[in-house]
């Protein structure tokens, strides 16, 4: 976690509840595919794979964040970098 300068602004029990709720609707959103047919409504064949968008979203974000964190090695400078000569 990043903000080490204070206690969590939302009580931990509530955070747990929010996390559980998020994971629950994640499951619901994939389960919902059982009730209709994506064929004919999506553009590509690979989009018809059950849970394709879920997996794509998850993997995209994990890759995005991990790559961005690595990018820091290349681009990170001190806050006053441009103010110094």
């Amino acid at each position: 976690m990043s903000h080490e300068h204070g206690p969590p602004s939302v009580p931990l029990e509530k955070v747990k509840l929010i996390v559980r709720f998020t994971l629950f609707i994640c499951a619901v959103s994939v389960g919902a595919e059982l009730f209709f047919d994506k064929a004919g409504h999506v553009h590509y064949g690979f989009e018809q794979i059950p849970g394709f968008h879920a997996a794509y979203g998850f993997v995209s974000c994990v890759l995005l964040v991990l790559l961005a964190a690595q990018m820091r090695k290349l681009v990170l400078r001190d806050e006053d970098y441009y103010d110094r000569d």
Binding site: P8, S9, I25, H53, Y56, A69, R72, L76, R77, D78
Partner: protein
């Protein structure tokens, strides 16, 4: 009468005269002007125009079609909301700058020829820089100068392109699209770079600078976070969207724009993830959103152009709302650095809710504005079989939710308590954010009025945003992005907010260029000193030699006998005679 008044003029003239208005009513006038302008732009009939003649050139001050109208209307709405948002701030510099800037952007969007476009294009640059300078710090002054140089350069390129085009074609008018079935082609569209004329490339570069194309983008992330609280909200609405309008108008169907736009959606989000200044995060995310519109323009079908126009419309509202939220935080907490914030939701509950609505809208959640606009562009990309582009846009859509949807509200309002004691935003800010939020939801739920403003009839195109597949797949994409955020936080892999600067292309001119300039200066200095040495030494030797010759014992110092002088004179005469003969 109404048709004699070009759109934008109310704001430009009103803005210039605003300081003369008594202070007690100035705020009323500030809000009244964009409201009047909006009414004017809404009632101007399609097809109306106003021509004028300058030095035998027929110019068109304004012309109204569906594309200029939708941009004109959203620009006015943005001006109105921003005017309300800035009411607490009694700074006439920002009031004049904001009104004239928005007026210039509106006038540019209605311009019927390239010279009129150029004049207002440059006017947006000159008026908007005051929104940065109004911060009145040395840092803001330097940033403003860099911003101004880039913006004016864009205008110069446009003028150069317009002159070349005039030489070739004898015309300055901005022509309508050519249509081939569903496919549109702007007047400057080209198929391959080899076929493009210098005029086309100059104008594309001009538009590309203002649209923040990759490598031409860093003025945006440099300048926007440095402007005043209200200044950034003004800036976020106009310059870049004017460029999108100009691209859509002139370069629709230029395939080169598809990879450019796709790149724009993807690379800024990496910076957005690690950036600490939350207004800069929004500037990167703005760049990413422009990418979708550029892709839409590049595809250039009716659906894609409708997508670009409607996305610009929705984007101006939710991006303005997000900048308003972060502006309120800056105003109250004195900082928008993620590393210094957190836990503000208790003290700024309304700002938290409004910012979260903006976050949901930019993330394109169903029932929010981004959902009914962005997906048109993705569908158009798939229809055109641009599979890689489609996948990049999908990746960027997940990423947007991550950095704008989650990161902005999370680090400002939640996360760990920063211990700051702040007040809720001023009432005028809350009103502006409230109305913007209502519009973000309103457009998402009741999208038909927006669609009615689009250049092409959506019923004829036959596309609707809400079907079960689209809603569920979009929800999956977003919810699993949230799951990824939870996962990364749990694993301790989420990069912390750090006090830092992340170098981008601006390094070239802020560090590399500076270093180059310093080194070049030193080289010139050394060359000058060396040259001076040589010149001085040579001159000294000459003087010395002359002195030696003229000394009493020197060659010229001794008295010459008269006979010698007579012989010398005779020799010269003979030589002259000889030359005369031979001539």
């Amino acid at each position: 009468m109404i048709e004699q008044l070009p759109p934008g003029l109310i704001l430009i003239l009103g803005g210039l005269l605003l300081p003369l208005v008594p202070r007690s009513v100035r705020k009323i006038v500030l809000v009244l002007l964009p409201a009047l302008g909006l009414a004017h732009a809404a009632v101007l009939p399609l097809g109306s125009s106003l021509a004028y003649t300058v030095f035998d050139y027929e110019l068109v001050l304004y012309q109204v079609d569906a594309l200029s109208r939708i941009f004109g209307i959203i620009f006015h709405i943005a001006a109105l909301l921003t005017a309300v948002y800035t009411l607490h701030d009694d700074d006439p510099v920002q009031q004049v700058a904001g009104l004239t800037y928005s007026g210039a952007a509106i006038a540019a969007a209605f311009a019927g020829d390239l010279i009129t476009l150029f004049v207002f294009w440059e006017a947006t640059a000159i008026t908007s820089v005051f929104l940065i300078w109004a911060r009145r710090t040395e840092r803001a002054y330097a940033t403003g100068m860099r911003y101004l140089v880039v913006q004016v350069a864009s205008g110069v390129l446009l003028l150069a392109g317009a002159i070349l085009y005039f030489q070739q074609s004898g015309s300055l008018s901005i022509d309508p699209w050519l249509a081939d079935g569903n496919q549109l082609r702007g007047m400057f569209a080209f198929d391959t770079l080899e076929q493009a004329s210098a005029a086309q490339l100059l104008i594309l570069a001009s538009f590309g600078i203002k649209a923040a194309f990759p490598l031409l983008h860093s003025w945006l992330q440099d300048a926007y976070p440095e402007a005043t609280v209200g200044g950034t909200v003004w800036l976020s609405a106009f310059t870049t969207k004017l460029a999108i309008y100009a691209l859509a108008r002139c370069f629709a169907g230029t395939e080169l724009l598809i990879p450019i736009g796709a790149l724009m959606t993807a690379f800024p989000i990496f910076y957005a993830v690690i950036e600490n200044d939350l207004r800069k995060v929004l500037a990167y995310s703005l760049n990413n959103q422009l990418g979708y519109m550029v892709v839409g323009v590049g595809i250039g079908t009716q659906l894609a152009i409708n997508g670009a126009a409607s996305h610009a419309f929705a984007h101006i509202l939710y991006k303005g709302l997000l900048f308003m939220g972060m502006g309120a935080v800056l105003y109250r907490a004195g900082t928008v650095k993620g590393s210094e914030l957190g836990g503000l939701w208790r003290q700024m509950p309304y700002t938290t809710v409004f910012t979260s609505i903006g976050a949901a809208a930019i993330s394109a959640f169903p029932l929010f504005s981004g959902f009914v606009s962005k997906s048109m562009i993705l569908t158009a990309a798939a229809d055109g079989h641009y599979t890689v582009t489609f996948l990049v846009l999908l990746f960027a859509s997940a990423g947007v939710f991550h950095h704008s949807g989650i990161k902005i509200p999370y680090f400002a309002f939640f996360a760990h308590d920063s211990g700051r004691k702040v007040k809720e935003a001023p009432r005028n800010m809350l009103v502006a954010m409230g109305v913007a939020s209502a519009l973000c939801i309103g457009i998402g739920v009741w999208y038909e009025p927006l669609y009615a403003l689009l250049p092409f009839d959506m019923d004829v195109i036959g596309w609707i945003p809400y079907d079960a597949t689209h809603v569920v797949t979009q929800l999956q994409l977003l919810l699993y992005s949230a799951a990824a955020f939870i996962f990364l936080q749990k694993m301790g892999w989420y990069p912390p907010e750090l006090k830092s600067t992340n170098v981008d292309v601006e390094w070239v001119y802020r560090k590399g260029g500076k270093r180059l300039a310093v080194q070049a200066g030193r080289a010139v200095d050394a060359a000058y000193l060396g040259a001076r040495e040589v010149v001085f030494a040579t001159a000294w030797r000459v003087v010395h030699q002359v002195k030696v010759w003229h000394s009493p014992t020197g060659l010229l110092g001794e008295p010459w006998p008269i006979g010698a002088a007579a012989i010398a004179a005779a020799t010269v005469l003979v030589l002259a005679l000889g030359l005369g003969w031979s001539g």
